[in-house]
């Protein structure tokens, strides 16, 4: 049994937690931050800048956003690995696993650095 298969319960836990956080928070964040903010529905860029700073520069907001983004990366990695298997890529499962979980780790580190540094 290789390392990826031994760690399957850990990946599954991260996948489940990331799934719930993504389902509950990401649609609202995408609609608000990435669609309604640019359209000016919630005010001009100065107002939305202040609101983003207020929401995500305090420890509670930072922790929540770090949890959402990093766990969502792990969820996406596990889902993408299984998508590859569903599409018949069994021969390259090991390579796919290392790439997607490696990217999730990078995303997690980036989330801590960028959001934590706000």
């Amino acid at each position: 049994m290789n390392l990826i298969h031994r760690l399957e319960p850990v990946f599954w836990m991260l996948f489940g937690a990331g799934g719930f956080l993504s389902a509950l928070f990401l649609p609202g964040l995408v609609l608000g931050v990435l669609i309604l903010f640019p359209l000016g529905v919630f005010g001009d860029s100065v107002e939305t800048f202040q609101r983003m700073r207020t929401l995500f520069s305090n420890p509670v907001g930072q922790l929540l956003l770090i949890a959402i983004v990093s766990l969502s990366f792990w969820h996406a990695a596990h889902h993408t690995r299984h998508l590859a298997l569903d599409l018949g890529m069994h021969a390259i499962e090991g390579a796919v696993s290392y790439v997607v979980y490696g990217l999730a780790l990078l995303g997690t580190l980036a989330a801590f650095a960028i959001i934590g540094g706000l």
């Binding site: 799934g19 719930f20 993504s22 389902a23 509950l24 928070f25 990401l26 649609p27 609202g28 964040l29 995408v30 609609l31 608000g32 931050v33 990435l34 669609i35 309604l36 903010f37 640019p38 359209l39 529905v41 919630f42 005010g43 860029s45 100065v46 107002e47 939305t48 800048f49 609101r51 983003m52 700073r53 207020t54 929401l55 995500f56 305090n58 956003l65 983004v69 969502s72 990366f73 969820h75 996406a76 990695a77 596990h78 889902h79 993408t80 299984h82 998508l83 298997l85 569903d86 599409l87 018949g88 069994h90 990217l103 995303g107 980036a110 989330a111 960028i114 959001i115 540094g117 706000l118």
Partner: protein, 141 residues
């Protein structure tokens, strides 16, 4: 204990394979693959959110430039696609959760799948509203 009994058992199963004509003939499989494909959408959403937060960290000018980029017509088309992907993911994830909640546990009566679905979708859309209220400034912190 014999040598055969101590050996790790190996289950002999054929590897799963993609059914022929799955895109048109197997609705369940196609929807499942679409759901699994939302993993890519979620990863892209997280990257864009990190770029947004990074712009906030660089100041109001960088934030204005970020809004200009995602507010352009091509940017908005991509963002609407990402929103549809995340909304589809959220809906489908909660639907799976409702099916799990409907499983009978111990002596408790099984929850009706309809009630479970209404409760979980209610939770999903309530939090969706809270996030939007927070971003709109309607709820101050």
């Amino acid at each position: 204990m014999s040598e055969a009994a101590t050996k790790t058992p190996v289950t002999k199963v054929l590897p799963s394979r993609v059914p022929d004509g799955w895109w048109t003939g197997h609705t369940r499989y196609r929807n499942y693959v679409l759901f699994a494909g939302t993993g890519v959408v979620l990863a892209l959403v997280n990257v864009v959110l990190l770029i947004a937060v990074s712009a906030v960290g660089q100041g109001s000018e960088a934030w204005g430039e970020f809004l200009g980029a995602v507010g352009s017509v091509p940017g908005l088309i991509v963002m609407v696609f990402l929103f549809i992907g995340t909304a589809f993911f959220g809906f489908r994830w909660m639907r799976v959760g409702a099916k799990l909640a409907a499983v009978k546990l111990g002596p408790l009566p099984a929850i009706s799948p309809t009630i479970a679905l209404i409760a979980q979708m209610g939770g999903l859309f309530a939090l969706f509203g809270v996030v939007l209220f927070l971003l709109s400034g309607a709820i101050g912190i």
